[in-house]
Symmetry: C2
Subunit: 441 residues, 2 copies
């Protein structure tokens, strides 16, 4: 059944919209707000959309606006969004792999495009287990630090640990503090666990699954591309932050060398994952913001908790470029060949991503008085599911908020559903027309 | 001879560098400056590089800084640059076409990759003839207007007509006035001839040649893509300028409806061609600038006088996207098939273009205190060979000037030499590795 893919994709997209609607309703309840007053529709909708998509952009301050009830709604929403996106993307990748020969070793492979319930159950079980275990470890480490290092009451420290660990793993990046994690900027016992949990979620389920269930010596090409490229992008981000911000009074300037390195690493990693910040994003230099734009647009690993075009898509473009410049007739990567079909899919995802982000940027610029630095940072953050903002989110018009909401959804489910649609459809073989060559360049 | 292409490309690149060196030396002469004092090396180098590449960005005011001698040096430089680039690109396209089956009807086709001298002569003669005829017509119309409409002395009016016509056809966009053509903003007798001459140069020699020598009913695919897409991009630019700037006090606000439309059209066209301006570029809204960035990055037609990735490259990406989304196994455009090789070349040119512009933007941002709006406008203008600047050019550091000089060269000769290198090399047939499919998106 060629069209079998549509059911899981459609179902999960519908489930995403339903969860957003439900969360919006719950967040509008007076009990969800610290003040005991009903939250306005747009603020609730924006928070719900930002939450389900794991983006973490916010029009109200998380810690002070929402009550304990509201915060639990958010936590559940983030977790549902994370489970949903990882399951959807993994199932679709599995569906594609059956047809195209990737070996994921998940369960017994079938030869059709329909998955049996057992396979889907295995994916769901794997996603839930991995998520909860990683989140639990992160929560315990953070809770111990908040309890022992900062003298918070045990219950409060545990809650805070769970909250920030779930926020990190699902690439949400919202903290209980109005300044994100700036108060912990120099504390490696808070920053490093957050980094590890966020990167684990950002790597994506297929890579994690392979790490855990490896029986063979050989890693899949997907893992062999994702891990080094993801790390390389983080290293690039860290380098730019350190070089550009090293002496700047508003950001790294006041800190010692060790703290500078910690903050640089934290921000270099956060661009491609959760989007917490430990320095004031509004004080970052335009060069740091531009490098961030690129990293946020790319995002993390496939079937992970980030948005964006994904690390493999970016890497495939680079491989195509390299092969073309070297005059190789086919694209070979680490002993494997990349089919023309996959190359075109990567080009399509990237072009559509650029188109969507540029269109949104143009609309936001035309309907506001913001400058390009801030707007492009906001749109790539929304598309990449990164909750970083130079402060523009809170000032958006209703039009602007709707643009960002749409971008957050597209960034999270767009590339996945697009690629599965591209990969699983039936290509109609038509007659071939005579070739003609327009001049390029 | 597969490597035959290298000779014309290398020769012309070397000729470009030699012309830049010679022009730099001439411009440094005291007699070249209005003041009678020697111009500094960097200013002369920047002016020469900007001139040979037809970019028209300027670190000194053309009209007041350079003497009559200096201006003639510039005119010759622009003309040499225009001849050179159109000839180079046309010869290389012809070289490729021989091998790949495009019918340009230029002369008798040979079956090898070497052109005979007669063919090259025919191209040079065609380029020179078309350039001089179009420039002469433009010069006469402009001169008449300056003479009869503004009461300038006949000699001065003629000189001004020649200067601005040559500047327009070769996509330079430098005027004799410090405010470009703002004083003629509402004069269609100046603006429209400039538009026509600039668009003619921007269309590219292959399209012009086909217009002039058409013997068959059928246009080539290259022309059928270039003309409507180029016009469409200009229409998009015009629309954005009109919609965004309509009521803005610093730009279109003070003008009546007819004048608004004229200025909108002028700017919509200038982004993809010469880069004159009739409103203050520094007053443009960020949204107008971003749309301009996109249009300047794309540029005009292949083997024309603009820089950028070119209209056909942009169109090919759109066709690839459309075919992929529609699940077509091959890319068909207007009754013709686009080979996978040409598709990959377009992707390569676009990706390298994005990479070069982003890298330059990052360096400029990191080494200055400018904002992204202005810097991206400057870098895309340099890459696209468009002489528009929001005022940043004059404030660039030496590093910044060098970055822009390199960008101007790459934007002008990069895509052409890249594509001919890609198209004419020998593809080594290697063993094929087993296929593996990483997850995309
Ligand atoms: K996030
Ligand atoms: K120009």
């Amino acid at each position: 059944m060629i069209t079998g893919w549509r059911h899981p994709a459609r179902l999960v997209v519908l489930a995403f919209l339903a969860a957003t609607a439900a969360a919006t309703a719950l967040l509008m309840l007076p009990v969800a707000a610290e003040s005991g007053q009903a939250t306005a529709f747009m603020a609730a909708l924006f928070t719900a959309a930002s939450g389900i998509s794991g983006t973490g952009l916010a029009v109200v301050d998380t810690g002070s606006h929402w009550s304990a009830f509201g915060e639990v709604v958010l936590l559940v929403l983030w977790q549902v969004g994370g489970f949903g996106i990882m399951t959807l993307a993994s199932v679709l990748a599995l569906l594609i792999s059956h047809r195209l020969g990737l070996h994921m070793q998940l369960t017994v492979k079938t030869e059709t495009n329909t998955l049996n319930l057992g396979q889907v159950r295995a994916v769901v079980a794997g996603v839930v287990t991995v998520s909860l275990v990683v989140e639990a470890i992160g929560a315990v480490v953070l809770a111990l630090r908040f309890w022992l290092g900062y003298g918070e009451p045990f219950g409060r420290a545990l809650y805070s640990g769970v909250f920030h660990s779930v926020s990190a793993f699902n690439s949400v990046g919202l903290a209980l503090y109005p300044d994100s994690l700036m108060r912990y900027a120099t504390d490696p016992w808070v920053c490093l666990p957050i980094v590890v949990v966020a990167v684990t979620g950002g790597l994506g389920f297929p890579v994690l699954f392979e790490f855990l269930r490896r029986r063979r010596k050989r890693w899949s090409l997907h893992t062999k591309i994702t891990v080094p490229v993801y790390l390389g992008l983080m290293a690039f981000g860290t380098l730019v932050v350190l070089v550009v911000e090293w002496g700047r009074a508003g950001t790294l300037g006041p800190y010692g060398v060790g703290d500078k390195l910690l903050i640089g690493l934290f921000h270099g990693v956060m661009y491609g994952s959760a989007g917490f910040n430990t320095v004031d994003v509004a004080q970052l230099q335009p060069a740091t913001m531009l490098a961030g734009d690129v990293l946020m647009f790319i995002g993390g690993g496939s079937a992970g908790t980030t948005g964006g075009i994904k690390v493999t898509t970016f890497a495939l473009l680079a491989f195509v470029l390299y092969a073309e410049v070297r005059a190789e007739p086919s694209v070979h990567v680490m002993g494997r060949r990349i089919s023309a079909e996959v190359q075109r899919q990567a080009v399509t995802v990237a072009l559509l991503g650029v188109g969507v982000v540029m269109a949104a940027t143009l609309v936001l610029l035309a309907t506001s008085s913001f400058r390009l630095d801030d707007v492009l940072f906001e749109t790539t953050a929304a598309f990449g599911g990164v909750g970083l903002s130079s402060g523009l989110t809170a000032q958006l018009s209703v039009t602007g908020q709707l643009v960002i909401i749409v971008l957050m959804f597209i960034g999270r489910v767009g590339p996945i559903t697009l690629v599965s649609a591209l990969a699983l459809r039936e290509r109609r073989r038509r007659y071939e027309l005579p070739e003609e060559r327009p001049i390029v360049g």
